[in-house]
Point group: C2
DNA sequence: CCTGGCACTCCCGATCGGAGAGTGCCAGGG
DNA sequence: CCCTGGCACTCTCCGATCGGGAGTGCCAGG
């Protein structure tokens, strides 16, 4: 087990390195943080920390830099979450309050997060798996052509065209519409299949084909729209990444274009609270020198989606975590209001 | 006026520089292209080209590189558009044919273009200004709450919620729906306002408030949705940009996040055919070392939107133009089919 | 267990010099 | 008049050299 002071030394190293982006030596440490011990003592501590794998030196006789493991310890034990200043909080609220629709909320959130953290922001659209149905509408565009409109409680609207095997009467359609809504409104997507399963049976044989087509499309829409979308922003902040540019930045840009990768990244976070994945903890190879801070957000008590930022492992974890958490909270509020 | 051979020299310089990314000297030129003259002669030609501002040298006694003006001449007079190979064309068609909806078409197009040109691709969603209305639907979600759904001929669906000043009866609603559709279906967005202007008058005074609200929302939707969206991809290709990274790439990334900038970029192109904007010809400052190749595409004879690529001024213009043109053509076909 | 001292290692930046590539100019020849 | 070979000159680039400085590890003493 590491002594109290050694942890203190690790914290100091992380803080200095994050600030200066340069390996930090024993002398500088004792000067900048009042550790009350001599450089030599710190050196011993550093040697111990290095043995344990928390820090490393780029080359002999250079200062130390934290390893992924070091950052991990820092995040878990040494650092809190730095709350935002109240002007910042006000700014967030003002900025998000101006949003007019869901796209706008997500767009603003992503820009906000990128600006606050000066890193790349990723915001997932509210997921539909936990969503409930607010309304289902059926429109006759032509005798044998329907449009299905699905409205969710998060304000998303999805629509599908349906080609019917046979024309369907207006009254039957109205009947179907009414029964459909009475069964599924307020229900979760996952519940819908079992709730509508027996619907065709209660209709005339002539119409069953069409009813089945409608239901099939509805279920398909539910599944498809569960595929989650997301928005990213602040990629220009990648230029602040480090010195050895092209090599570092390229795989990150590539990863950021793969929605699948990003969704996995956010999805992996099981923790109900905030999740921090540091360096190699990220499965994706291109992101092995980045850290991801993510958190769920939602309109009620339950998280409906996630958002987060991607930045260099050498990032200001407390500040980033503070910003991510605060933004998630405000977005949740905004969603709850609408 | 420049002699034939001098133009040939310029072409050779552009080609070599694009290939090697290094200033090209007189000797190398005579070796790689069979110009049938000695390096000394080429040097004279180069001096003349430099006087005219078509090429420049980074420093004394280095090779020459083309200036923006040089590229301009190259594009206008010296280079054709390089057609794609037939395997490439087949690949495009296959890839685009798999698209399932408009989002997918645009998404695939952007990826395709980025891959083909190895540059950043920008694709504008089919614009609605030229679009026509396919269907308007009104749904009663609650006694005094309606949803307006607008379907366009390009397959886009937009919806808005409307809070009515007073409850509206089902029959009135059906009436309104029918009249609205009979007036606007098949019409262009720009025509709609004048076509629906007098609608409220033909209804009972009680309902006029609601009717007006509906119309207002409809018109608003038309205007709002005319704001054009776009999708970009291939940002990872920015890493192939040049040597002096952070400085070059940062403003470009920033510009690419500003949809407004991009829309302006594509929008500026007036030419019905392909437009190439080279370096400083781009208004936006951050893009002064990039070139933009853009072209309109559409489902019929008329262009409904634009697409293009953004890359370093030092790009393979003929190849890029060929790819851009080909992709635009195929996307047009796909849109026309659906 | 902490501390001061000391020798050692290694990076970094500046300096320097040569090689190479490219240029401009000139004088001669078709 | 234009092309050509020759020549001197200019720069950049690259590698080698070399202190300065920061940082380390270790040791002996408190």
């Amino acid at each position: 087990m590491l002594s109290e002071r050694r942890l203190e030394v690790l914290r100091a190293i992380v803080q200095d390195y994050v600030g200066t982006e340069e390996p930090v030596g024993s002398k500088a440490l004792t000067e900048r943080h009042n550790l009350q011990v001599s450089p030599a003592t710190v050196r011993n501590d550093m040697a111990a920390l290095e043995d344990e794998g928390f820090i490393a030196q780029p080359h002999t006789s250079a200062g130390r830099i934290p390893t992924d493991k070091g950052y991990r310890l820092f995040v878990d034990k040494l650092a809190g979450v730095k709350p935002l200043s109240s002007p910042e909080r006000r700014a967030i609220q003002n900025f998000l309050d101006g949003a007019v629709d869901l796209d706008d909320v997500v767009g603003r959130t992503v820009r906000l997060l990128a600006q606050l953290t000066r890193q790349v922001a990723v915001v997932q659209y509210p997921s539909l798996t936990r969503s409930t149905v607010r309304h289902v509408e059926l429109l006759a565009l032509a005798p044998a052509r329907l449009m299905l409109v699905l409205i969710t409680d998060t304000g998303r609207v999805e629509q599908r065209l349906i080609d019917c095997p046979a024309p369907i009467g207006e009254t039957v359609l109205a009947d179907l519409r009414a029964r459909l809504n009475s069964r599924v409104v307020g229900e979760r997507f996952t519940e819908v299949p079992s709730l509508v399963q027996d619907l065709p049976e209660s209709f005339d044989a002539d119409d069953r084909g069409t009813i089945s087509a409608v239901l099939a499309t509805l279920l398909e829409t539910l599944v498809e729209e569960t595929e989650e979308r997301l928005m990213i922003g602040g990629t220009a902040n990648l230029t602040r990444f480090g010195h050895d540019f092209p090599l570092t930045i390229r795989p990150v840009l590539e990863a950021l274009e793969e929605q699948v990768v990003l969704l996995k990244l956010l999805g992996e976070a099981k923790d109900p609270g905030m999740t921090v994945r540091i360096g190699h903890e990220n499965q994706h190879e291109g992101l092995s020198s980045t850290s991801v801070v993510s958190v769920g957000y939602g309109s009620g008590d339950e998280a409906v989606a996630k958002l987060g930022v991607v930045g260099p492992t050498r990032m200001d974890y407390p500040g980033t975590m503070g910003a991510v958490r605060a933004v998630a909270r405000y977005v949740g509020q905004i969603l709850a209001e609408s």
